[in-house]
């Protein structure tokens, strides 16, 4: 290996880093297949913005390719399974692969999901040779079901990546999934590659006009000339082409294990037993975060029962979770799923606490003189919540809608405000109530009676007209009161095309005591929606 000059910080200093690159071909497809539990032969296409982003080999055989419109792809391959492309899924499902590699070889750099780089020197010395190190890596990945992975080893990450990719075009594709470029031969390996692999389209166009068609031709130019003509970008591309990469392998620091798993043996069927046994773990969870200088603001609680049921819920906190808050969330989640008094349907065997969002402790530190009155509010309301449950303490928003119960949205304390509600408020709602809002809105409309002068119920005919003038209101059954003024019917027809739609008539009525009522007439029956008391 060529001795490297010190001065790693300088971007253009020519260095060689013996690098091993692990490449998993078609990683988005592999990730999607694993996520949706499909067989590897199943034709699958991932769609982004209506076009095929990538597809599985079996789909490719039937003519599906990148950039095809969805309909076109489905015509070519009728059994195609179409899934949306999810970059987060790629990253998430690559995490176990990196963890596996880190188990046997430290210092992994994640280049992108499906591609990672390592220093080759250490593993080569440990396993005896580079071949053996690469074979050990592939063997470890085969153990977690990844058989298609490939390894390339060369003097620079760029060359190693292309060595790994080049295994596909080897003499016997599939069997030999390791390609090792011996030290010093990287430049000659790269020399036959076209300029496109540099991923510098404008530079490639100019070079082609100058008669340069391969990386070898480009590398043959002197470095000083390239720098003078093409500037820093050109110089970097020239370094890559000559097998010297200014990029070194930046080792990833494995993230600290922050989640906590508790196995209950035997499974616990009572909530108080469970929260009691969880207390230590919850404290450990919070302490471990605090040691890392973090606080958890969004928590995922996973509960698994003995019978295999799983309950996963995401909890937010207006400030951050301490151990008591964590226990409260576990309890609320159990109370939501089962009968509180009589324990659970079956015992809980496994509890997992995952910090979904962590923030820096210093952002949430208490001020020297406290953080003002809101802190008290949080503490007080959290106390009430732990008495009554998460959904018992509410804040409210005014939303859009025709019916009064639609026009309010209750949000449990600590949950984020509903964006949909805020948006719907500004829409036009023809048929909404004019004038001042009634102060009392019944959760469920209350049955009332509206009678005419002969004492029979007032109704509406098929033309939407009242059968008689309303004279008497019976709001609380024994007591009758005379109607002094009234208005209506105001018809409201919502979603008439839908069987769940509603059709009703609204009335405003003032009785002799001066109390105003908002009444509904639905299917010949009268209800009180609200009262202006």
């Amino acid at each position: 290996m060529k001795p490297t000059r010190s001065g790693q910080g300088a971007p253009a200093s020519p260095t060689t880093t013996r690098t091993m690159v692990l490449w998993c071909p078609d990683w988005p497809i592999t990730a999607a297949l694993r996520e949706h539990l499909l067989s590897a032969e199943h034709p699958v296409a991932l769609i982004e913005k209506g076009e095929v982003f990538t597809c599985s080999p079996s789909a490719r055989e039937q003519g599906v390719k990148r950039g095809l419109r969805l309909r076109e792809a489905q015509t070519r391959c009728t059994s195609l399974t179409v899934l949306p492309y999810d970059p987060a899924l790629d990253a998430r499902s690559f995490e176990p692969v990196i963890a596996m590699v880190e188990k046997i070889m430290p210092g992994v750099q994640l280049v992108r999901p499906g591609l990672c780089a390592l220093h080759a020197k250490g593993p080569a010395r440990y396993y005896g040779s580079e071949e053996r190190a690469a074979a050990a890596l592939l063997k470890a990945l085969a153990a977690i079901g990844l058989t298609a992975a490939r390894v390339g080893i060369a003097d620079s990450p760029f060359a190693a990546e292309h060595a790994a990719r080049a295994t596909e075009f080897g003499d016997d594709p599939g069997t030999d999934s390791i390609w090792i470029i011996p030290p010093g031969e990287t430049a000659s390996f790269l020399s036959s590659f076209p300029l496109e692999v540099l991923e510098e389209p404008t530079l490639a166009v100019v070079l082609r006009r100058l008669g340069i068609r391969t990386l070898g031709d480009f590398a043959a130019l002197t470095r000083a000339d390239v720098r003078n003509r093409f500037g820093a970008e050109g110089a970097l591309a020239h370094l890559k082409a000559s097998g010297l990469d200014h990029h070194s392998v930046v080792e990833r620091k494995p993230p600290a294990e922050l989640d906590v798993v508790v196995h209950c043996e035997p499974p616990l069927a009572r909530i108080d037993e469970l929260t009691f046994s969880l207390r230590l773990s919850a404290e450990k969870f919070v302490d471990r975060l605090r040691e890392a200088g973090l606080v958890c603001t969004v928590l995922v609680v996973q509960l698994q029962s003995e019978s295999g049921e799983e309950s996963v819920r995401l909890w937010r906190h207006p400030r951050w979770f301490d151990a008591d808050d964590v226990l409260d969330r576990v309890r609320w989640q159990l109370q939501g799923s089962g009968d509180v008094e009589h324990g659970l349907s079956s015992g809980i065997s496994r509890v997992q606490l995952l910090p979904e969002t962590v923030e820096d402790l210093s952002d949430h530190a208490d001020g020297l003189w406290g953080t003002g009155p809101d802190e008290n509010i949080h503490h007080g309301l959290a106390r009430v919540q732990s008495m009554l449950g998460h959904g018992a303490v509410l804040t409210a928003m005014v939303a859009g809608g025709r019916m009064l119960t639609d026009r309010r949205v209750f949000i449990p304390w600590g949950d984020p405000p509903s964006e949909a509600a805020a948006k719907s408020r500004n829409l036009p709602w023809p048929g909404q109530l004019p004038g001042p809002a009634p102060a009392t809105v019944f959760d469920e409309p209350r049955a009332v009676q509206v009678l005419d002068s002969t004492g029979s119920t007032v109704d509406i005919d098929e033309r939407g007209l009242l059968t008689a003038v309303p004279v008497t209101l019976v709001a609380a059954p024994p007591r009758q009161s005379a109607i002094s003024s009234w208005a209506g019917p105001w018809p409201i027809v919502e979603r008439w095309w839908d069987s769940n739609g509603r059709s009703l008539n609204r009335f405003q009525i003032v009785d002799e005591s001066g109390t105003a009522w908002l009444l509904l007439l639905v299917d010949h029956r009268w209800w009180a929606e609200a009262s202006y008391d």
Partner: protein, 260 residues
């Protein structure tokens, strides 16, 4: 040090007395200050600190407004309860509504109650007392529908907590220790005919009966209760009392609100 204390915390009587003795009255001032503190701790009467109140109601409430540490009961009108909450909420206080699932937040918003500082506990169940006590610790004013039967000892304990925290309690329905009972004694809606129009405004007669037995009434329009014009003077008994309430405590007995 005492110059820096907020003016509202000085008892009104003491302040008036002090203005006469001014510079020689350092000792007297200190004494009065301490005496008022002792009174605040010993006395079963609420402190003289007032919460911001909607002016038309401040005019008829005993003491010229909602007093910190006092309880008020509202007989038959959620609208009136909302008007009581609107003053403190508009001044930035946190409010809480306990045990009232029919409380309309849209109407509350139209009264100027800030919904982001309003906490609702619609169904406290049998833990009403604990929840209300916990809320009184953290918020400035609590509106609640008290259970039918409450033990006198529980009520006194709640009142003690109320005085200690300086919050105000508004109950729907009767409450044993209420400072005043507010009720709507007359209501007349405008805008509705027989089969025509829609509800537009409401003329209300509000009666506040103090625990001493003295009662005052005010006639006003509903929009006036909601969003002013609080400071303009219309030739109307209610708005005259408004002007008086703003001019301060001196005009308390000269107010035109009728005493019966």
């Amino acid at each position: 040090m005492f110059q820096a204390a907020p003016a509202g915390s000085t008892p009104q009587g003491a302040r008036r007395a002090l203005s006469a003795v001014d510079h020689a009255g350092d000792k007297a001032r200190l004494k009065a200050e301490l005496q008022s503190k002792i009174n605040g701790m010993q006395n079963s009467r609420p402190s003289s600190r007032r919460l911001p109140t909607v002016p038309v109601l401040a005019g008829i409430l005993p003491g010229g407004g909602l007093q910190a540490g006092a309880a008020y009961s509202v007989a038959n009108s959620t609208t009136l309860a909302m008007a009581l909450l609107a003053g403190p909420s508009g001044a930035g206080a946190w409010c809480s509504v306990i045990g009232m699932p029919t409380f309309s937040v849209e109407a509350a918003a139209s009264f100027g109650i800030a919904l982001d500082r309003l906490v609702l506990v619609p169904h406290p169940g049998d833990q009403w007392l604990t929840v209300t006590a916990a809320m009184l610790d953290v918020v400035s004013i609590v509106l609640t529908c008290a259970p039918q039967h409450i033990a006198p000892s529980d009520a006194s304990r709640l009142m003690a907590r109320l005085r200690q925290r300086g919050a105000a309690l508004v109950t729907m329905g009767p409450w044993p220790h209420s400072e005043a009972t507010l009720s709507v004694t007359g209501s007349n809606w405008q805008g509705l005919g027989s089969g025509t129009g829609h509800l537009r405004s409401r003329r209300m007669r509000i009666t506040a009966r103090a625990s001493t037995g003295r009662s005052r009434t005010a006639d006003l329009w509903l929009p006036e209760l909601q969003h002013g014009p609080w400071s303009t003077s219309i030739s109307d008994p209610a708005s005259t009392s408004t002007a008086d309430a703003e001019s301060g405590q001196q005009g308390f007995f000269a107010r035109s609100a009728r005493a019966s």
